[in-house]
């Protein structure tokens, strides 16, 4: 039996843009297994972030529902739901409070959710920083005194602080240099089994998806056009849109060129 942590059921979302109705999500259903990493890919405007916001409870779906750990999530989430589902954003500079030290940002999560003994929390913050491979002394620094990669590690630590179960990663590495991106992805890969986390990984970078996701859901204009195990989806994509996406990724090795060429050949026939 599979253990489904998150189940998105027939979710639609329509926005009212000044009398004009925009359908951002159209009857989307998706199951996420506990401990897995599910990637949501698509171009901008395909509804990936709308789905993330619905999972996080930032706004409710127009129709359909989200089931988390067997319970239907209410439109207004209570604290335990907010604790269990956390977010890591694309740009850590704008998602961390610039006036607050790193330590205070991390501690806030512990205080809000009343995690651990008060006297222990300072130590917990240091442990969190060490867990994301940052020196504990960074607790006293401001976000501006950190590099992009270090800030993203802090953002990850903050998502871990309240002992979350599901982490929504919204383009977590697309603002980083490749060397830094590789280290952050490595860290994410290491934390998932260690903390028994489930990732919903939103990105447009298919090369990243190939290397860290277990399953992939491809979005086009608010609909899921293809979903499947990563390996299978990349070697044998069924939908022309998926093929187009994979075919557009700039690659650096001859093997990758060959893979891309084989996909576009299938598209021609």
């Amino acid at each position: 039996m599979t253990d489904t942590i998150l189940s998105i059921r027939n979710v639609s979302k329509t926005f009212d843009a000044g009398g004009q109705f925009v359908k951002a999500l159209d009857d989307v259903s998706l199951d996420v297994e506990r401990g897995s990493c599910v990637a949501i890919v698509g171009e901008s405007g395909s509804g990936k972030s709308t789905l993330a916001n619905i999972v996080l409870g930032i706004y409710p779906p127009s129709s359909g529902g989200v089931v988390f750990n067997g319970d239907v999530l209410p439109a207004r989430r209570d604290k335990s739901h907010r604790r269990a589902i956390q977010l890591v954003q694309q740009n850590p500079l704008s998602s961390l409070n610039p006036k607050r030290s790193i330590g205070a940002s991390l501690r806030l999560a512990l205080d809000v959710h009343d995690i651990g003994e008060r006297s222990q929390r300072k130590e917990m913050v240091r442990a969190l920083l060490e867990e994301v491979h940052l020196p504990p002394e960074f607790a006293d620094r401001a976000p501006a005194a950190l590099s992009g990669g270090q800030r993203q590690r802090v953002a990850i630590a903050r998502a871990l602080a309240c002992q979350s179960e599901l982490v929504v990663l919204d383009e977590p590495t697309s603002a980083l240099d490749v060397l830094v991106q590789a280290r952050v992805l490595k860290l994410l890969g290491e934390l998932r089994p260690k903390r028994r986390l489930t990732y919903v990984f939103i990105t447009h970078d298919l090369a990243v998806v190939r290397n860290i996701a277990d399953r992939v859901a491809v979005f086009e204009r608010g609909r899921i056009v293809e979903t499947g195990a990563t390996e299978k989806l990349f070697t044998n994509p069924q939908h022309p849109y998926t093929r187009g996406l994979i075919g557009a990724v700039p690659v650096i090795t001859r093997d990758e060129l060959a893979l891309r060429a084989s996909l576009s050949m299938e598209a021609d026939t």
């Binding site: 240099d177 060397l179 990349f234 650096i252």
Partner: protein
């Protein structure tokens, strides 16, 4: 052999700040021959964008910048020119495409007005009607099928990909000898990015424009450039024809950079050590390879 369009020799750059001077470039040399597409690839902070700014003559007037070495454009030393002469080169003989097309177009003017401005740099007394006819022609060249609608729009009414095409059209409108492209398309979706690159390649080939292509994305560089310079902390660490460099990267930094790029064929996330000492190894030069016909 023809004279290079751009020859940068031992370029150094330092910024004077309140804590003394910060060195940004430590003597880089780059040459671009007519019609050649040359990429400068490196991470953020490596000095690739400031190099472009020096070539455009935008940093020379900055009081805190200390520039050494020479930058020759079409055989003439930029340092020997007056600011007015350098200004005259921009938009006519050399032009630039920026990373984010939507924010580099002026939001309060229609494309038509902005295009007219661009064309006036080349032909100062060009009238509005003539300018629009020319603009329509160039827009069609960048595969815009309804140039009239685009010309009548404001930048925010167009999509990112459309704005990027408008930028390319504007940059090539005065038939420049050198096009500087700073991370074009990184703000766009991969499919749009692929189209834009393809379009740019076709256009520069047709007009025989030389390109200095600045990017951090190795994949994009491989698809676009003839020759590649890898820059790390203000030094060129490896140089060679694209195929040679990608098939056989020799400098430790280039190798690390390539290893770090996630592969479309899978294989997991690579281990990247924290050790950066090896990255200061001397430069590896693959030579220019075969001369272009």
């Amino acid at each position: 052999m023809s004279r290079p369009v751009l020859a940068i020799r031992d370029l150094t750059l330092g910024f004077k700040g309140w804590r003394g001077e910060t060195d940004v470039l430590h003597g880089i040399s780059v040459t671009i021959d007519p019609g050649e597409r040359v990429a400068l690839v490196g991470e953020s902070g490596s000095g690739k964008s400031v190099t472009a700014r020096i070539v455009l003559g935008l940093l020379q007037s900055l009081r805190s910048a200390r520039i050494g070495g020479t930058v020759e454009f079409d055989g003439r030393d930029l340092a020997g020119m007056s600011p007015a002469e350098r200004r005259h080169l921009r938009g006519t003989r050399m032009s630039m495409i920026f990373q984010d097309p939507t924010s580099s177009l002026n939001p309060v003017y229609r494309i038509s007005t902005q295009f007219h401005e661009v064309l006036k740099r080349g032909v100062p007394d060009i009238g509005y009607e003539a300018a629009m006819a020319r603009a329509g022609e160039i827009l069609r060249e960048v595969s815009i099928t309804e140039p009239q609608r685009v010309l009548g729009s404001y930048p925010f009414q167009l999509s990112g990909g459309m704005n990027q095409r408008v930028m390319i059209a504007m940059a090539l409108a005065n038939e420049p000898d050198l096009l500087i492209a700073d991370e074009p398309g990184t703000a766009l979706d991969v499919t749009v990015q692929a189209q834009t690159l393809d379009l740019m390649r076709r256009l520069v080939e047709r007009h025989d424009t030389s390109v200095l292509f600045i990017s951090h994305n190795l994949g994009v560089v491989r698809e676009f450039a003839d020759r590649v310079y890898v820059i790390y902390k203000g030094r060129i660490v490896e140089h060679g024809p694209t195929a040679a460099l990608f098939d056989d990267p020799r400098h430790p930094y280039t190798r690390a950079l390539m290893a770090a790029v996630p592969r479309l064929t899978g294989g997991g996330v690579p281990d990247i050590g924290e050790d950066t000492e090896a990255f200061s190894a001397p430069m590896v030069d693959h030579g220019h390879g075969e001369q272009r016909p």
